[in-house]
Symmetry: C2
Subunit: 318 residues, 2 copies
């Protein structure tokens, strides 16, 4: 995605070439492929180059947007290939959020005259605004997830939380996808733990399902609260209150609003229950489930802009 724009940013900032390594999510972002051990070099003024294991060379040719690849057989060759491609570069871009201290020191040893510039903010700003192609992929991922959860709820006949989780994850795998995070199915008193992980029985009361998939490289993250049995009047009111809070945030999520404002709209809509909303309202979503960018939470300095994709997930945990 947006490789040309990123190269322009590098050029503007006087960066000769940017180096991404291994599990840096900017590699699948720019190249559309995830590889086990690899280096992606993005020069400001010439074609990007992949340095990959020989075992991955064919996959790069078939599946990557960056076709220009050099492969190594032994790990130590990786560094000499890197050195070769950085020859003549002076200012090197790195992503400090991802590069390990080990790799950073190795880069420093390669070129003793290198000057390093952190590109994490630039690349994060870029990634926050999705292209139409990315937007469609996220929408597709959400549509599929919605359908899976619908199927799960409409035929809800599970005895344990693990059965719910398995049903959801099987459906994801059938699509050739994977869960984008640890699926949560939390019933009864467990429903009050936002990051619950366990395998209790399905009990009468609220059951919270938090589930997402990574489909064609893009994530979804959906929560649904259902009720097992007959909710009391008070329970119905609580459910409606959370829904109202979510809707208030959806209605206010417009270009120009700050993340903090949006969070507080959802929070205030919970009235006397707002102290039971014990996490932030949401986060960016994209190639990562918690994608690059600010959280939508109290104290966040971010401002929403057109083209961003965020989650809106208020809750009452009590």
């Amino acid at each position: 995605m947006r490789l040309g724009e990123f190269q322009k940013i590098l050029d503007d900032q006087g960066i000769d070439a940017c180096v991404f390594l291994d599990t840096d999510p900017n590699i699948p972002y720019f190249a559309g492929i995830e590889l086990e051990r690899c280096i992606l070099i993005v020069p400001s003024e010439s074609e990007p180059v992949f340095i990959v294991s020989r075992l991955e060379a064919e996959r790069v040719l078939n599946n990557s947007r960056v076709k220009n690849a050099e492969s190594f057989e032994r790990s130590y060759e990786r560094e000499s290939l890197l050195a070769k491609h950085l020859k003549g570069s002076k200012v090197i871009g790195i992503n400090k959020d991802c590069i390990t201290t080990r790799d950073y020191e190795a880069l420093q040893a390669i070129g003793r005259g290198f000057i390093f510039a952190d590109v994490s903010d630039s690349v994060s700003s870029l990634r926050q605004i999705k292209t139409p192609e990315e937007a469609e992929k996220i929408r597709e991922s959400c549509r599929l997830t919605d359908r899976i959860i619908e199927k799960c709820i409409s035929s809800f006949d599970f005895k344990t939380e693990l059965e719910v989780k398995n049903f959801l994850e099987f459906e994801a795998i059938k699509l050739g996808s994977r869960p984008s995070f640890d699926t949560i199915a939390a019933s009864g008193k467990n429903a009050s733990m936002p990051h619950y992980s366990g395998n209790g029985k399905i009990e009468t009361g609220f059951c919270v399902i938090d589930f997402g998939i990574r489909h064609n490289g893009y994530c979804s993250d959906l929560s649904r609260t259902i009720y097992i049995g007959n909710p009391s009047k008070k329970e119905r009111e609580l459910y409606e209150l959370v829904k109202k809070s979510q809707q208030a945030a959806i209605d206010s999520a417009r270009d120009g609003i700050t993340a903090e404002e949006l969070d507080s709209i959802a929070r205030n809509a919970l009235g006397e229950h707002k102290n039971a909303f014990i996490h932030g309202l949401g986060h960016h979503i994209g190639i990562q489930v918690h994608d690059s960018g600010f959280r939508i939470s109290p104290g966040s300095k971010g401002v929403l802009k057109e083209g961003m994709f965020i989650t809106i997930e208020p809750g009452i945990y009590q």
Copy 2:
């Protein structure tokens, strides 16, 4: 695992406290739990401390071996808790293989007088030798995987590679486990690509299955080569040759042999086909599928010791 031994190493090396962050695999190694955002501080002479999000506090109490936890509500509180617990420490251990440059710089800013010592080699040596408890977990993970693959092969009636992959991954999820790496099912000509990823039809010929699970925190990694149809005499010979190579390595894998020697025993057993064995023989296995430690490959300087768990996976790719 072996927290006491690690603390003794820290003490011997004059390290006051070691800091592990976020996705460092040494966190599940020592504490037996994986958390989204966390810091594990291991002082040489006092009890380890977890710094975790408030959302994770209950899970730590229920599931972690390190029970001593402090929780933060907002991200910025993480650093002040860290500073508090490092007060009085001078020499700080870090794992350079994992710590990001961002986090390293943040640590440097916390204590301007800190001296940093890399613990990656010490912790890697420790993790290479499995405790009896770990050994049993790896064995159990392998037994379950073997059973899944057996089930897959004995009722083999799949039309596509994706169906094979889905079958294996469903079975893993049923056990409450996850695939430990991207499952490979490669049929016909695809079987000659070690890291194949795709969804072709199941064709006559060799079909390579490479599959592992992470069960109770410990990984398996098993390959099986099956044949669809009736193998020719030459194909049978090739299969037997790889099996012989694998057996030769298994027979030679003893305390004291170097990784390089073991690799070359398997390689030489392939005779004229040894150039078609285009990757290393194996790797350590444990809480990670490619666990901490040397590869079993040409040029490796490692020496095998009792208590190590490695994979032995020769192949002819042609």
